[in-house]
Amino acid sequence: MRILVLTKPVPDPAAGAERLGPDFRLDRAASPSVVNGNDEYALEAALQLVEAHGGEVAILSMAPATGTDTMRKALAMGALRGVLVTDPALSGADLPTTIRVLAAAAAAEEFDLLLTGLDTSDGQGGAVAAGVAARLGLPLLSTAGAIEPDPAAGRVRVRRLSAKGYDVIEAPMPAVVSCTQALGAPRYPSLKGIMAARSREIAQKAVSDLPDAEVPADGAWATRVVAAEKPAARAAGRVVKAPPDEAAREIADFLAGRRLI
């Protein structure tokens, strides 16, 4: 099986240093980058699928040129090669453009499954997988908690998590699958993997390589952030250390004061 995984470099949420620049765009220099959390679940699922069925995993990112640093980590986990779409003309790209670029770059690859994270920790829109699937005319199997391909039949089954439990859904391959944490924890790169990743290819592409992406000129994006502010700081909270009954009364008083009971 050939599996292509979309991986996005995002500011490390654990570092807690994300911030917006004066143009209200994400200040990527302010925080160390990591592979987006949900994309790591997608990558882990992809690696397990090729271990079970044979084949190879490749990764695709759209990011500034420094994105190669973050992609090396994904390669160290076991992906064999990467494609990075990078171009100053994509700085601050809106969602329709991002979807067209990723779809055009994916269309140049051969794959049975295209995996993505359910959403990204910096954007959180959760719309890229569906958009890329629509653009490529492929079925979308979203919110996957388990992925079971049947390569001989050319079909894939996914356990799609729902508010009430899950649905088992099925479609012919190639197909697009958006992935959740329920697929299982990502592996840590081995030393051998880290060494091997250094020599693996990351092919770089620019907007001029992807005419189908129809990238608008001069950053004429469909959406614009017009204001940003920090949330009002929470007033310092009260700390209570008391016997259980007294602590319980304190909590109940607090809830009553807020009309929550």
């Binding site: 829109g125 997988a129 009430k164 944490q181 940003a228 008391a242 259980p244 909590i251 109940a252």
Partner: protein, 324 residues
Amino acid sequence: MAPVILAIGEVADGTLTRLSTELATLARQLADQAGGSAVGLVVDAAPDGAATELATYLPRVVAVTAPSVAAEVWAPHAAAEVRRLAGEGVTHVLVGATTDGRDLAGTLVGLLGWGLLANASGVSWSGASPEVEAIVLGAKAITKSVLTGDTGIVTVRPNAVEAAPAATQGEVEARTAEGAATPAATVVERVAEAGAEASLEEARIVVVGGRGVGSPEGFGIVEELAAALGGVVGATRASVDAGWIGYARQIGQTGKVVKPSLYLGLGVSGAMQHRVGMQSADAIVAVNRDPDAPIAEVADLFVIGDLFEVGPALLAELRARRGD
């Protein structure tokens, strides 16, 4: 050109979801502010009941009978109907930031190339566009964003607006389905799991069990308190990873983002990965044995104590005050 704002109705168990009534209210308000019009859409195998309810909020609702959505995923079918309505003049689409809603929104962006403003916690009309307020970067910033063109899509979180019926009941227009706009996956089986019915994102009160809960049985007190408060049970990644409760309950960076009136955390340490999913709650109360637990930094009331002592005492206190 006056905007035409479409609210997407979602159906669960044959009933219109609460979030759909909020979207409809919002569409009506925006149409009033913009001098445009509002319309609703329900796409379902049996849409009539939900469409009639949606029409209590909107002057006009399109009810599409789509038998296929009983056996196929919903978004490709809904996308076909939205695309048809876009051809008839709809300029803006409001859709819930739900699993199906996000699939629909993404599909529409791919098909129509329209801009998307995601995860609105508030929407008003400003100039020629909806202005969308969203909490981003793990609640580190609140942004306001607009569309630069005449068309677009907004995904809306629960509780962005209070649902309010219109003065008069609207009309329902019945249609037959177009068919899927993109290849639709087949639904082989729908499986309901116990304890996963209530929507975490829509809940006004969320009671969360963290690592300190210690076992699946430990969630008993969490569930009892949630029931007593009329709330819903949530979890942290630690308690989900330990297998004590399902992933559907997880709040945080790779789980759900919630903004309830009350967050009550029991044995929750407050790791960054969890806080990005809950720190915009109106009120935060936490009980933890560890006085240095980082959740104290965001808690309005932080009780240093054992959840298995404070929890039952709180349950008794709540029952006593209610006169049970």
